[in-house]
C-alpha cells in the first residue's frame, strides 16, 4: 500500500512541477507583443493557446512520466528497474519503490491543492456576484429581449452574458448619438454576442486562473483588444471604417465627460482601435506556424521527459 502511495505521490508531483514551469513559460510568452497587423481571430487563438499552457503542460508532464511505466508491460522498452537500488524511486507500476514518504511530502501536495482550491472558490464567488449584478442590471433596464435600455445618464454600452446574453445601452449614450452611430454601437455589441465573446471571456478567465497575475493581465488585455478589433472589423464592413472610428471617438468623448469609474487593466486600447480602423492595411491571416510550433514544443517536451525517465528517477531519489 505504501509503495503505491509513493508512486501516486511521484506522479501527482508532476502536476505542480509542470504548472510552475509552464506558468513561467506562459508569463514569458505573454510578454511577447502580439503582432497588431495580424487578423484579430489569429491573435485570439494565440491568446487562448498561451492561456492553455499552464493546464496542458502539467498533463503533458504527467502523461510523459507515465508513458515509460505503461510501455514496460507492453514490451516497448527494456525493464531496467532491477538494476536500481532498492531505495531508488521507480516510475514503474510493476516494481514499486521501497521509499517511505514523510508527512512533508504529502503536505507539499496538500498545500498546492488547497491554494488552487481557494483560487477556484474565490473566482467562482466573484463571478457569481458579477453575474448577479448583471442580471439585476438587465432587470432594471427596459426591454426583455436581447436589447436592454438602461435609464441612466451615464454613457455605457456593453454585451454581457450572465447566463442569458444581452446588449445593454444607457439612455445617456443613446441621447448623445445620432441614428447611424446608434446602429454602429448596437451592431458592434451584437457582433460580440454572435461571436459569444462574453461567454468566451468566462472560459478565458478560468484558464487564466493558473497564470501569474501579471501574465494573466497581459493576456486578458491582448484578448480584449483582439475581440474589440474583430467586432470593429465586422461593423466596418457594413458601415465603413471611418464611421466606426468616428463613433468610437464620439462614445469615448461622451464617456470621458462623465464620472464613470475606470479601473480596467484589461479593456481595449481605444486609440489603437481608431488608428487601426483608419489605416488602410488589411489584417494578415497568418499560416498556422504558431500553432504548429506550440504543438511541436509540447510534443518535444513530452519526449524529453519520457526520455529522461531514468534521470528523473535519480533526481527524485536525491530529493526524497
Amino acid at each position: 500500500m505504501n509503495a503505491w502511495l509513493t508512486v501516486l505521490w511521484i506522479f501527482l508531483l508532476a502536476l505542480p512541477v509542470g504548472w510552475v514551469v509552464s506558468a513561467l513559460a506562459a508569463g514569458m510568452l505573454a510578454r511577447l507583443p502580439l503582432d497588431q497587423r495580424l487578423d484579430p481571430a489569429a491573435r485570439i487563438r494565440r491568446v487562448y493557446l498561451v492561456a492553455l499552457l499552464p493546464w496542458a503542460a502539467p498533463l503533458v508532464f504527467l502523461l510523459a512520466l507515465a508513458a515509460p511505466a505503461a510501455a514496460k508491460p507492453l514490451g516497448l522498452i527494456a525493464d531496467h528497474c532491477l538494476s536500481h537500488g532498492i531505495g531508488h524511486p521507480h516510475l514503474c507500476l510493476e516494481h514499486l519503490p521501497a521509499v517511505a514518504l514523510a508527512h512533508w511530502h504529502w503536505l507539499v501536495l496538500l498545500l498546492a491543492a488547497i491554494w488552487f482550491g481557494l483560487m477556484a472558490i474565490r473566482h467562482t464567488m466573484v463571478r457569481r456576484r458579477a453575474d448577479s449584478q448583471l442580471r439585476t442590471m438587465a432587470c432594471l433596464a427596459q426591454g426583455r429581449g436581447r436589447l436592454r435600455v438602461l435609464e441612466s445618464p451615464d454613457c455605457v454600452a456593453f454585451a454581457a452574458d450572465p447566463g442569458r446574453p444581452f446588449v445593454l445601452i444607457s439612455r445617456g449614450l443613446l441621447e448623445r448619438l445620432g441614428p447611424r452611430e446608434r446602429r454602429i454601437v448596437l451592431a458592434h455589441e451584437t457582433t460580440h454576442l454572435r461571436h459569444r465573446d462574453p461567454a468566451q471571456s468566462r472560459w478565458l478567465e478560468c484558464l487564466l486562473l493558473a497564470h501569474w497575475p501579471s501574465g494573466a493581465a497581459r493576456l486578458r488585455r491582448a484578448w480584449h483588444q483582439a475581440v474589440e478589433e474583430r467586432a470593429d472589423d465586422s461593423v466596418a464592413t457594413r458601415f465603413g471604417a471611418e464611421h466606426v472610428a468616428r463613433t468610437i471617438v464620439e462614445v469615448a468623448r461622451a464617456t470621458a465627460g462623465r464620472d464613470v469609474p475606470a479601473l480596467s487593466a484589461a479593456g481595449a486600447d481605444t486609440l489603437r482601435r481608431v488608428e487601426r480602423l483608419l489605416s488602410i492595411r488589411a489584417p494578415v491571416s497568418p499560416p498556422p506556424v504558431y500553432e504548429v510550433v506550440y504543438g511541436t514544443a509540447l510534443a518535444a517536451l513530452a519526449c524529453v521527459i519520457a526520455g529522461s525517465h531514468h534521470a528523473i528517477e535519480t533526481l527524485l531519489g536525491v530529493l526524497m
Binding site: M137, C139, L150, D154, V156, A157, R253, A265, T270
Partner: protein, 129 residues
Amino acid sequence: MSSFPHLGDLEVAILEYVWTLEEVSAKTAHAEIGEERGISLNTVQSTLERLYRKDLLDRVKVGHSYRYSPRVSRDELVAALVREVVGRFGGDSSAAIAAFVDAADIPDKQALQAVEETLRRRRRDRGGS
C-alpha cells in the same frame, strides 16, 4: 450608496413597484406582484424584509403591519450599479462583459482631438476629390 447589494428578480420587481407608489404594504405588493407570479404573501413579506435589511427600503409600523417606502431612488440605485459593473470591467477578472469603449482606456483630450482632426481631414479630402 457605497456598494451595490445583490438583488434577485423578485426583489427588483418589488423595488420597481415601491418606487412607483412611494409607500406599500406586503398585502398590496402581493396583490400587484405576488398573485401574478403565483407566490405567497409570506414570500413577498420576506422579500420586503430583505430589501429593508439591504438598506434599500424604509419601513414604519402601522397597526400590525409594516408600510415600506424607498430609501434610495431608482436613479441612485442604477448609478451605483453602473459604477460597480462598469468599474469592475477588466479590473476584476470575472465580469463577462464587452464594453463598446472602456472608460479606463479613453485617450486624453489632446489625443482625441488629434484623431478627430484626422477624421475631419479625411472627410474634407474625400469631399474635395
